[in-house]
């Protein structure tokens, strides 16, 4: 059992995905504080207002209203106070060009939302564990996409 408490934020406008994520965290053998925001604007507001109480991991959907995931990622990585935060992309699409862009903009991992709850659980767990072990270092590119 991991004694650490993980502070996790999910930015996703999809309620179902948020509830899947919540259920996954409830089932994982870790302790977590979980927060969801519905779009990029809300995420950025939360990050700036909660400083220095920042999350351990940000899970970021790409297609969101008002401010999308890529914009958020770029802003976070440009901000001296936020740039160390590990960002995991959590999206449906699998576009090579977009993925390259995300990696070069500093995202840690890329999770393609699977259609199987067990796989979802596995892949989220993998991301949390990987980040908790290597802290803020961006992994090698070939490990960018997490598949389970």
């Amino acid at each position: 059992m991991n004694e650490r408490v993980y502070n996790i934020i999910l930015a996703d406008d999809d309620i179902d995905d948020c509830s899947f994520f919540k259920e996954v965290l409830e089932e994982l053998p870790i302790t977590s504080i979980f927060k969801t925001v519905q779009d990029g604007v809300e995420l950025m507001r939360l990050l700036s207002s909660n400083f220095p109480n920042l999350p351990d991991i940000i899970f970021l959907d790409l297609n969101m209203p008002r401010k999308n995931g890529l914009e958020c990622l770029t802003e976070i990585k440009k901000d001296e106070k936020l740039k160390h935060l590990p960002v995991v992309i959590f999206s449906t699409s699998l576009d090579i060009q977009v993925m390259n862009l995300l990696y070069s903009n500093g995202a840690h991992y890329y999770i393609r939302k699977p259609g199987e709850f067990a796989k979802l659980r596995a892949v989220i767990y993998e991301a949390i564990i990987a980040i908790s072990q290597k802290t803020s270092l961006q992994p090698a590119k070939e490990k960018f996409i997490l598949q389970s």
Binding site: D14, D16, F20, E23, T92, S93, K113, P114, G115, E116, F117, A118, L120
Partner: protein, 554 residues
């Protein structure tokens, strides 16, 4: 033959001399030659020995004499020799009405007659013939100074008249043709720079009806833009080296009315022994209407072409919109489907025990349906990606692609115990990612449609040659193609489906028999088209299938 001194005047004279001498004259009104008066003797002597055709009517009965030169005009099977010594009236009954007045005129003491190319039909060669003559009737006086005979000097001019008439007819026919064709005609003398033309041509050029004009007057009526061209063409045509040919189109502008006439001029030059042109003539055809029609046609063709181009642009736009629609919609369709699938796995994990047996079966079928929908969406996405994605061509050895696909399909190949044969593969200029997909789809198809009781055998071959060497009319002549053929020993299909199988969602088998969405071959075709290539399929039921791909060679 010896004559009595009296008849010396009848010596010589060829055939007619002989006939005259031998004839029994005692039965005629002028009696035997021994008694003929000196005037007759002298005249006859002149006639018989002359080389010019002559004829004589002597005495009150106008007894006929003629010489060898005249004789051919009587032809065969005619009056010769029977009219010798005959009275004129009996000898020439068919023309008596014509010649009697002339004879009477001469006998009455008037001047000798002169007739040129006069038609006097006579009986010869077994029939009445139209014969033309130039002749003169002149009086012959006897010892008493009385006019007692008519001497006819004549020459037959039938050939001349007939030729002349034929020439005239041809000339009339020509001018009729020129008129009917509404042609202008010109005749130019390069030596004098004088120029003559028919009325029509002069009207076009606005030239006076004078017989001859200076060429420069005509040149001035040619449209400015064509003037130089025409002058050069004429100068060229009158050079011996040009063989005299002249064929040109230009516009004439009437100097007063400014009416424009577009003409097609054709002509030729004639050269003398020194190879200098002495004549340059030809025709002009009015092609104004024809040109107008051509312009109109051209305009319409251009209009249609640009309309078509616009339609094409519009179509392309619609097509692109459709493709991005297909991409976006299938992308968005994934979302709810993924939810359904995730919820389903959650139920399966946590609530499965609460379901009745029937519920479990229905649930299983629901999952199968969802799975199928996912495949469909994935395939549709792949299909639309082949047209939206960036196309980066690279020169690649086909073998590399095949090895990669073999690696991807390792398990499937092992499971089916399949044999794959690919000899020397050529280098091709391709979009590697797309071509991998193409090979993948074709090979997995071969595996899918293999025969149950036979080891699948897939053969890949390549050859490079010109379009015309292959039996496919869609290939361009002279373009080099790489021909890739992929054949198997599977279940094949009926030949009538060889085109249809490339259509989207086209399936030849029930879903329960062979799974699939019917998009695989549509993707293959699209990829081949992206490579400016051609693909055909040939097969027979139960006899395997062959796919022939032709893409432009490296």
């Amino acid at each position: 033959m010896v004559f009595s001194p009296n008849l010396e005047f009848l010596s010589g004279g060829g055939e007619m001399g002989k006939l005259t001498r031998e004839k029994d004259w005692s039965t005629t009104s002028i009696g035997v030659p021994e008694n003929w008066p000196q005037s007759l003797r002298t005249t006859l002597s002149i006639i018989l020995n002359a080389r010019f055709p002559m004829f004589l009517w002597w005495g009150p009965e106008l007894i006929c004499f003629y010489n060898d030169s005249y004789r051919p005009s009587l032809g065969q099977q005619g009056k010769h020799p029977s009219i010798l010594g005959m009275a004129a009236k009996d000898a020439w009954p068919e023309i008596w009405d014509i010649i009697k007045p002339l004879i009477d005129q001469v006998l009455a003491g008037e001047e000798a007659t002169w007739s040129e190319d006069q038609l006097i039909p006579i009986f010869r060669n077994g029939k009445m013939e139209d014969v033309y003559w130039t002749f003169s009737y002149s009086p012959v006086k006897d010892e008493a100074g009385q006019i007692s005979a008519v001497l006819v000097t004549c020459t037959e001019t039938t050939d001349k008249v007939v030729n002349f008439r034929q020439m005239k007819e041809s000339s009339e026919q020509l001018s009729f043709a020129i008129d009917a064709a509404e042609l202008g005609t010109f005749d130019y003398n390069p030596l004098t720079n004088k120029f003559s033309a028919n009325k029509r041509l002069k009207e076009w050029f606005g030239l006076s009806a004078d017989a001859e004009i200076d060429l420069s007057n005509a040149i001035n009526a040619i449209a400015e833009k064509d003037r130089k061209k025409v002058t050069e063409a004429i100068q060229h045509a009158i050079l011996f080296s040009s063989a005299g040919k002249y064929d040109i189109q230009y516009t004439i502008v009437h100097p007063v009315s400014k009416k424009e006439t577009v003409v097609h001029a054709k002509g030729r030059a004639w050269f003398n022994e020194e190879n200098i042109a002495y004549r340059f003539n030809g025709t002009l055809q009015d092609i104004t209407e024809q040109k107008k029609f051509e312009h109109e046609l051209e305009k319409q063709v251009n209009e249609r072409t640009s309309e078509l181009a616009e339609n094409n642009i519009e179509l392309e736009k619609i097509n692109k919109e459709l493709q991005s629609f297909a991409y976006i919609s299938s992308h968005d369709l994934q979302e709810p489907l993924r939810k359904i699938q995730t919820f389903a796995t959650q139920i399966l994990e946590k609530e499965h025990a609460n379901l009745s047996d029937n519920g479990k079966i229905k649930f299983q079928r629901m999952q199968t349906a969802a799975k199928r929908m996912q495949t469909l969406i994935d395939d549709l996405l792949a299909y639309s990606r082949t047209s939206t994605e960036e196309r980066k061509f690279e020169i690649t050895n086909l073998n590399t692609i095949i090895q990669e696909v073999k690696e991807d399909l390792k398990e499937d190949l092992q499971q089916k115990n399949a044999v794959m044969e690919s000899d020397d593969m050529c280098e091709v200029r391709i979009i590697p990612f797309q071509f991998r997909q193409l090979m993948y789809n074709l090979i997995i198809n071969s595996l899918k449609f293999s025969k149950e009781k036979q080891q699948p055998h897939i053969k890949i071959k390549t050859e490079t040659d010109r379009g015309e060497k292959f039996n496919n009319d869609k290939l361009s002549y002279g373009t080099k193609y790489c021909h890739i053929s992929i054949s198997d020993n599977g279940i094949g299909f009926e030949p009538q489906y060889s085109e249809k199988i490339f259509d989207v969602f086209q399936r030849l088998h029930g879903k329960s028999q062979y799974s699939g969405t019917g998009i695989g071959l549509a993707i293959v075709k699209k990829i081949v088209e992206n490579h400016n290539g051609v693909i055909t399929a040939t097969a027979n039921l139960d006899e395997g299938a062959t796919f022939d791909i032709y893409i432009p060679a490296v």
